[in-house]
């Protein structure tokens, strides 16, 4: 990762693109026209941000509900803190898991320290997959729960003011 620093021009580009790119023949020119830059300048800046990892990627994000991946179970696990890295890496490597993070507990309401987003075409598939994880963990699974999302309440990209 480079030591990229956001300047005013980057900020303008981020503001102009954080809601998405315009669906026109020359989208980078269109973005530039809005903020007084050429298409080339916009592309150079975007490439620099891609290189620095500031932009993870440019592309499409499907709404998984619309594609029939309706289950989207957030599996949450209570595993021994000293083994969380080893276990997290194992779970994260599974192809039906999209994100895997260690997060703090909030006892007593929240006793889980490992989160793994499990995807499937339906709830049943998700639950089977969670069961696979539970078996893989054995005794290190000191309790788990799956939180299904029943509704997307909001979904946007990042915003900067």
């Amino acid at each position: 990762m480079s030591n990229w620093q956001m300047d005013e021009t980057d900020r303008k580009i981020i503001k102009a693109t954080q809601e998405g790119l315009p669906l026109v023949e020359a989208p980078y020119e269109a973005v530039g026209a809005e903020i007084g830059l050429s298409g080339d300048e916009v592309r150079q800046r975007l490439n620099a941000m891609l290189d620095a990892g500031v932009i993870r990627r440019i592309g499409a994000v499907p709404n998984h509900y619309a594609l029939g991946y309706t289950a989207n179970g957030m599996s949450t696990w209570d595993v021994p803190d000293e083994k969380v890295k080893e276990i997290g890496e194992k779970i994260g490597a599974l192809d039906f898991v999209s994100h895997c993070y260690e997060r703090p507990r909030h006892q007593p309401i929240w006793n889980y320290n490992l989160f793994a987003m499990v995807h499937g075409k339906d709830k049943e598939t998700c639950m089977k997959r969670v069961e696979m994880i539970a078996q893989m963990l054995g005794e290190d699974d000191r309790g788990h729960e799956v939180l299904f999302s029943s509704k997307i309440l909001k979904k946007t990209g990042l915003r900067i003011a």
Binding site: E25, L50, V54, R56, K85, L153
Partner: protein, 156 residues
Amino acid sequence: MRRKIDPIELDDLDRQLINELQNGFPVSERPFHDVAVQLGSDEKTVLAKLTRLRESGVLSRFGPMYHAERMGGGLTLAALSIPEDDFDRVNDIVNAFPEVAHNYKREHELNMWFVLATETPDRVEECCHEITEATGYQVYNMPKKQEFFIGLRFDV
């Protein structure tokens, strides 16, 4: 914001576009043309297809995916426990924060889970506090301590 998703039929080109464009999108003068050539289509068709996919809600986003922490910002996952009869009111308040990037209703005592993306790391705590104040419910802040894998992609 609740975006309605209209069920639409997907043809082969729609599927190819959804699959391909999750991998990346050219940073070129005529990127839709480049994508079209790669898929054996033409620019006009690709643009029309993508416009339809986005308007119908099949694509929830199309563009650069910014990495909040590397932009110097803050990012967290936070949860609220809200009685069902107060859910809509709280939802409106939470969604009105521009820092709330995603928000999901989930089946649990903690029934609202949202991602906060803030311009500065300090703003995360402030935001949690402001949401607690504005809603009257305690925000449980769960910033990630370690990240093991990120590879969200869906094949159709």
